[in-house]
């Protein structure tokens, strides 16, 4: 086995191509509108339509909630285009049990909002603007994600 097939048993080109496309998406949004878009903020800003508390009604949420929902709709649209044009339109499934998805999701949502960013906010936008707090956040969540995937994830 070569190094490439050891590191990337399912091939590597689609990973790199997908990553470059994601980067182009963030760059396109920035050059056209000046907007900096991580994905976890979509959730808090969407709640701001329904939950009228001072936290959810803070200006940076109410100002950006409109375009963030459009951005999220685009995300679904783009994935659907790939699905129908490239993948052949067979619905995808996952073997990860529902309780892990729900509990994992709860922690992801709570943690990303408390920490003001996720893999796209801190990971792509934060690292892409060379912000060291984002680098620290990325190192922190990578460390706990490795621990959780290897320990909790395997035993349960």
């Amino acid at each position: 086995m070569t190094l490439a097939t050891t590191l990337f048993p399912s091939g590597w080109m689609h990973f790199l191509a997908g990553g470059l496309l994601i980067g182009c998406a963030v760059a396109l949004l920035f050059v056209l509108t000046g907007r900096v878009g991580g994905m976890s903020t979509v959730f808090s800003t969407s709640w701001s339509w329904l939950v009228k508390t001072p936290y959810f009604l803070q200006q940076r949420y109410t100002e950006s909630r409109g375009w963030r929902q459009i951005y999220a709709a685009g995300l679904v649209l783009g994935a659907a285009l790939w699905w129908l044009l490239v993948d052949g339109g067979t619905p995808q499934t996952t073997q990860v049990p529902a309780w892990k998805l729900l509990l994992g999701g709860l922690l992801v949502g709570y943690g990303a909002r408390l920490g003001n960013g996720c893999t796209s906010g801190h990971g792509i936008c934060g690292l892409g603007s060379l912000q060291w707090p984002s680098l620290m956040a990325v190192l922190t969540f990578m460390a706990t994600a490795f621990a959780s995937a290897n320990l909790i994830g395997r035993w349960l």
């Binding site: 590191l7 990337f8 399912s10 689609h14 990973f15 790199l16 191509a17 997908g18 990553g19 470059l20 496309l21 994601i22 980067g23 998406a25 760059a27 396109l28 949004l29 050059v31 000046g34 976890s40 979509v42 959730f43 808090s44 375009w67 951005y71 685009g74 995300l75 783009g78 994935a79 490239v86 995808q92 990860v96 998805l101 729900l102 509990l103 994992g104 999701g105 709860l106 922690l107 992801v108 949502g109 709570y110 943690g111 990303a112 408390l114 920490g115 960013g117 893999t119 796209s120 690292l127 892409g128 984002s134 620290m136 922190t140 969540f141 706990t144 994600a145 959780s148 995937a149 290897n150």
Partner: protein, 141 residues
Amino acid sequence: MSQPTRSLTQAIATLVSGALFGFGLALSTMIQPEVVLQFLRFENYGLMLVMGGAVLVTLVAYKGLPRITKAPLLGGQFQQHASQWNRDTAVGAAIFGLGWGLCGVCPGPAIAALGVGNWDLLWVLAGIALGALFQGIGRQH
């Protein structure tokens, strides 16, 4: 450009950018929890290429574009979202990682998965939405 026209073109640009993002996530198989979990278990390093490729292009755009043009092409100004390193960021990132390692899905892929008919991931989407609600409720700022 009149204001309504500008708002519309900005909305279209945002939709197209989102679509490109979603297409990239789907193409790179990051919307499949199994592939992300393989990475976190050191069985497939593809996620490094995805992150590396995305950060590289973003870095060039964020640092280079403001030198070439003073303002975004459709008006407005280049936003900067400064991140801070404090207790909330540290604890939040740690909790986020725990959850990500458990389910293999982060916020972008959870939304994008709606586009590929993966209804199993509605569990994650509901979880993230509720998690974001719990985080914000009861907070003043």
